[in-house]
């Protein structure tokens, strides 16, 4: 019989462009110690540690978990390293949850991070391998045509992306950990910011951040003793598809739709718009909010943008999205997925502070990566399923 499992502790760093005051180990410890304190745990209570991050070349260390192990109290314990592109933070949390769900361990610490200031992500993404197609330098250049594709299909007004960015940047002002904060942000500032990859403007783009996120995941026995409300993991789902093949729907990939369908089925949800109280989803470029709203079945195809336009996804809307300010406000790449999963957990624990959605009982955490081809998601709730 699979064990029920829950998030009992959440921790994160203050995300910023350069954390030159700490090493990679110091950065991870900050998040890990906050998660342990939140869970009422000591290092010795942890049975295993799962580390996740995006490509090793983002810091320039091969398999850095090997040297980070001691700083996370891993000596003598199982330590595991996950890497699945931008979705990695979410996948890492799922792998950690399965170590508990399977009955192998009782309490697992999972940490995801990126310290982009120690190397250069743009360089790491641009290495040309002989006889291979080069990856387009920077993610914006890759995703801009997909957004154009969505705009053409949906006939959405040109300013939907601006409205998403404005909302997320306003939400970030309520999040003490967010990297980018523009206290006087308004529509015109976003609209007039430089066009980087048409139609993506500067203020519709995620930053490069240093940061880490950590979770303590426990079985039912240990969750019962946790000092705070646990976030019960009701369902998880993962899907992958190749980067390119003839006929691939890159705007609304089947891997995304399949993962969502599996997730709702596992969580026994038939109407996600009604049964989910808030969502924290992976939106590195503003337009991905309406795109994922459709793919995740919150809106009919072609009408996801209306949710943004009508304010449904605002903090006081009927389905708040990216209450923390999202990836647009903080993007330590390897941790970005886990931050989404962590925010969903904090919402149902009632621990989201100023950006708490009142009465949130069930929330979605979502991450994607690669060329919109890797997806991981979970549903967390105040009660187990």
């Amino acid at each position: 019989m699979p064990e029920r499992c829950a998030v009992i502790g959440v921790g994160q760093t203050h995300h910023t462009a350069k954390r030159i005051d700490v090493s990679q180990a110091g950065l991870l410890r900050e998040a890990a110690l906050r998660a342990l304190e939140d869970a009422g745990c000591q290092w010795s209570d942890i049975d295993a540690v799962v580390i996740g991050k995006a490509p090793d070349m983002f810091e320039g260390v091969m398999m850095p978990e090997l040297f980070l192990a001691e700083a996370l109290g891993c000596v003598g314990k199982p330590m595991f390293r996950v890497h699945t592109a931008g979705s990695v933070g979410g996948t890492t949390a799922i792998v950690a949850s399965q170590l508990v769900k399977s009955g192998v361990h009782g309490r697992v610490l999972t940490v995801a991070y990126e310290k982009q200031s120690e190397s250069n992500a743009m360089w790491a993404l641009s290495i040309k391998i002989p006889f291979r197609q080069a990856i387009v330098a920077g993610a914006g250049g890759y995703f801009a045509p997909l957004i154009r594709g969505y705009m053409q299909r949906s006939k959405a007004p040109e300013d939907v992306g601006i409205r998403v960015a404005l909302k997320d940047r306003q939400n970030a002002l309520k999040n003490p950990y967010a990297h980018l904060k523009f206290p006087d942000i308004d529509f015109d500032q976003v609209a007039n910011s430089p066009m980087l990859w048409d139609p993506i403007r500067y203020l519709e783009t995620c930053p490069s951040s240093d940061g880490a996120c950590a979770l303590v995941i426990a079985d039912e026995k240990h969750a019962a003793k946790a000092p705070k409300q646990p976030a019960w993991i009701q369902a998880t789902a993962m899907r992958s598809e190749p980067t390119q093949f003839a006929g691939r729907d890159t705007v609304n990939p089947q891997a995304s739709r399949d993962a969502a369908d599996e997730l709702w089925k596992k969580a026994e949800i038939t109407n996600p718009r009604e049964e989910i109280d808030c969502c924290e989803i992976y939106v590195p470029f503003s337009w991905f909010e309406p795109m994922w709203m459709e793919s995740l079945r919150f809106a009919e195809e072609g009408s996801g943008w209306k949710m943004t336009y009508e304010g449904a996804t605002a903090l006081d809307g009927d389905l708040p999205v990216n209450m923390s300010g999202g990836v647009l406000s903080s993007n330590p790449i390897g941790a970005s997925g886990m931050l989404r999963f962590a925010e969903a957990a904090n919402q149902v624990r009632g621990e989201a502070g100023e950006h708490q959605v009142p009465g949130a009982k069930r929330a979605l955490g979502h991450a994607y990566g690669g060329g919109s081809q890797f997806f991981s998601m979970w549903v967390v709730a105040q009660d187990p399923l």
Binding site: M62, L66, F67, T91, Q98, V104, S240, E241, P242
Partner: protein, 351 residues
């Protein structure tokens, strides 16, 4: 815990430099072979997981190409570890224990020939305190070998004999890279690369891929060969800092062995992932393997050491040995990190 069996194992022939094929070209026939011999239709495989390192390919997101090799459409449930394929097998085993799937394809791949392996492995060290010293994979292993000799636990002669035995038995392994009959006196007359290590004490640089299909429930027993059951599996880690541990011992191997139940039954043989000759001595001691235990019937990592999958290959070779009826119960081991920092133990048994 659910019974999980190794349903099939497939691998490439290991070579010094595979220049004719891309990674995807190398992966496709191996996983095709593993799936077809498992008797489980590809459409019924519930989970995929593989191990590789971006630093072997010299490219970020190198693993993404492997998804192409899987023919991942319709989309699949899939994950990746930046670790040896043996840990990908562990993740898949956990997934099966969750009751979510009844089968999984696991593989690992590495192509060490793409760069200068000794220099690449320096990048695996603590970037603040250890890497800048310029120490590489062979000099690290040499420090460990010296410590072991100084402790009176081995000798250069015994290390040469270990290399000779592994490469002699590898003559029967059609996929091995370095095989043959060697004489101890001639080997000891060779110069050292980094004292006390000579060329024969070091693994070859290998390009290659290996794959395993795991099965549970009614997916067990459909394959060409008899299922071989995972009776215990555990992995543990030691300090990364060389000054933080006794290099002549492997406490993480010992602990993982105890947790996996190595001595809950007779150990007839062991496939040890010991890339350097002296490491076999350390691992034997940590696992409490006596002289009666046959070590590395495949020839081990001294005969072929495909980075990121040499550990998974040990599990696959051990399962093949049991499925062929040559033994009833054995142990497979995988390692990662400098001087055996991280270790996984898998106890395997026939029906």
């Amino acid at each position: 815990m659910r019974d999980v069996a190794i349903a099939s194992f497939a691998q490439t022939k290991y070579v010094r430099n595979q220049v004719e094929l891309t990674e995807v070209d190398m992966i496709i026939p191996v996983i095709g072979d593993a799936i077809s011999r498992s008797g489980i239709p590809k459409s019924e495989i519930g989970f995929y997981c593989h191990g590789s390192s971006d630093y072997m390919a010299g490219q970020s997101f190198a693993f993404v190409g492997a998804v192409d090799a899987l023919g991942a459409f319709p989309p699949i449930a899939e994950s990746h570890v930046e670790m040896d394929g043996a840990w990908a097998l562990y993740e898949a085993w956990v997934k099966i224990q969750c009751g979510e799937v009844d089968s999984a394809l696991v593989f690992g791949f590495g192509r060490a020939s793409m760069g200068k392996l000794r220099e690449t492995m320096n990048l695996q060290l603590d970037p603040y305190t250890l890497g800048p010293l310029g120490i590489d994979s062979i000099s690290l292993a040499a420090l460990q070998a010296r410590a072991l000799i100084d402790a009176g636990k081995t000798s250069e002669r015994q290390m040469a004999e270990i290399a000779i035995r592994n490469r002699r038995v590898a003559k029967d392994n059609p996929n091995a890279q370095v095989t043959g009959d060697f004489e101890v006196e001639k080997l000891l007359a060779e110069p050292t690369i980094v004292s006390p290590l000579r060329k024969h004490d070091c693994p070859p640089i290998s390009d290659g891929i290996s794959a395993v299909v795991l099965a549970a429930g009614n997916h067990i027993g459909r394959g060409e060969s008899k299922p071989v059951f995972i009776r215990g599996i555990d992995h543990r880690l030691d300090s990364h800092q060389l000054g933080g541990r006794d290099l002549t011992r492997s406490p993480s191997t010992k602990l993982a062995g105890e947790r996996a139940g190595v001595h809950d039954g007779p150990v007839e043989f062991a496939e040890l992932h010991a890339p350097f000759s002296h490491q076999e001595v350390i691992l034997r001691e940590a696992l409490g393997l006596g002289d009666e235990v046959v070590i590395n019937p495949s020839g081990g990592a001294l005969a072929a050491n495909p980075m990121m999958t040499a550990g998974l290959t040990r599990i696959g070779e051990a399962a093949t040995h049991i499925a062929a009826g040559k033994a009833g119960r054995g142990v497979a081991h995988a390692t990662s990190g400098p001087c055996l920092q991280q270790n996984l133990i898998c106890v395997l048994e026939g029906e």
